[in-house]
Symmetry: C2
Subunit: 172 residues, 2 copies
């Protein structure tokens, strides 16, 4: 009850009352971001959304999400691993990894093979098509996505940024 309606409107005589109609498109002034500009987490999330958005655009012809791309990459670099191992290193919970693999497998990008050593686990491997798609994706990411980031930041800054982010991800 500390806020009265009178105080409310007293603060803001701008919309239809005191608006400066000098020019035709003289709209409301931009909002003051205040301490928000200094909040690292805020810029971090905004930047992450933009980067993911651009990733999707660049790799759209292959219909791969960042998460799917990371799975294919990991499979390529780590043959013979099972679902839990791959999921864990990507920070994906095993239950949630099932549907992801179902999607990739249904598109014939990878396969689950029952291990003979441990008949509980599924060895994951890229299919031939998976390798092809991954190769094309890598090229798109390098020539379109990361190239654009390099253009915006400059190579040196891009590396510095990556190092700091990795440090945060690892040690924070």
């Amino acid at each position: 009850m500390t806020v009265s309606k009178a105080t409310a409107d007293a603060v803001k005589p701008s919309r239809a009352s005191g608006k400066a109609p000098v020019d035709g498109a003289a709209e409301n002034p931009a909002l003051q971001m205040g301490e928000l500009s200094e909040l690292l987490g805020y810029s971090l999330k905004r930047a992450q959304l933009k980067v993911f958005e651009d990733f999707l655009r660049c790799v759209a012809p292959l219909q791969l999400t960042p998460a799917q791309f990371s799975v294919l990459l990991l499979l390529d670099n780590n043959p013979g691993r099972n679902q839990t191992e791959i999921a864990n290193t990507l920070g994906i919970l095993r239950p949630n990894f099932v549907a992801m693999l179902d999607a990739l497998e249904s598109r014939d990008l990878c396969t689950r093979v029952r291990s003979t050593n441990d008949r509980r686990s599924h060895i994951l491997m890229l299919t031939e098509k998976g390798r092809t798609v991954l190769a094309r994706a890598k090229k798109l990411v390098a020539t379109k996505h990361e190239a654009r980031l390099n253009e915006l930041l400059g190579p040196a800054n891009r590396v510095a940024l990556l190092d700091m982010l990795s440090k945060i991800a690892a040690e924070f």
Copy 2:
């Protein structure tokens, strides 16, 4: 069918067969991250999750999420604005902003006041309690959260990181 089960297990004779039992805790080697370490988007998301996690820890006594904190901050810096204005500058869709405000208002941190200029819109304002909570939150964020980031990166790097992230968020 390009992948045979024979090839699958041939790649990985490690689990129970060829594991080097030299030491007691000699487990499977860590997975090869490969080109994933160079993917900015990957480190970006991992870092963002860590930072948000720490934010929640630091401001836990006040029970504020990063999004709620950003709303309170914006309200403090921009009195007299309505829901759409606040939501838009935060990248929140108006329908999703309703529940957010309901939560904040039910905790008596802010209020919706019908504008007399435009009786459709709700002017948003912090309550007295909202101002108090925001002040405490700011202090916690500064002394615990951002301080920890400063400690990890160093003040100069922290600023450089923030600048690059803001640039990506704005121009990418």
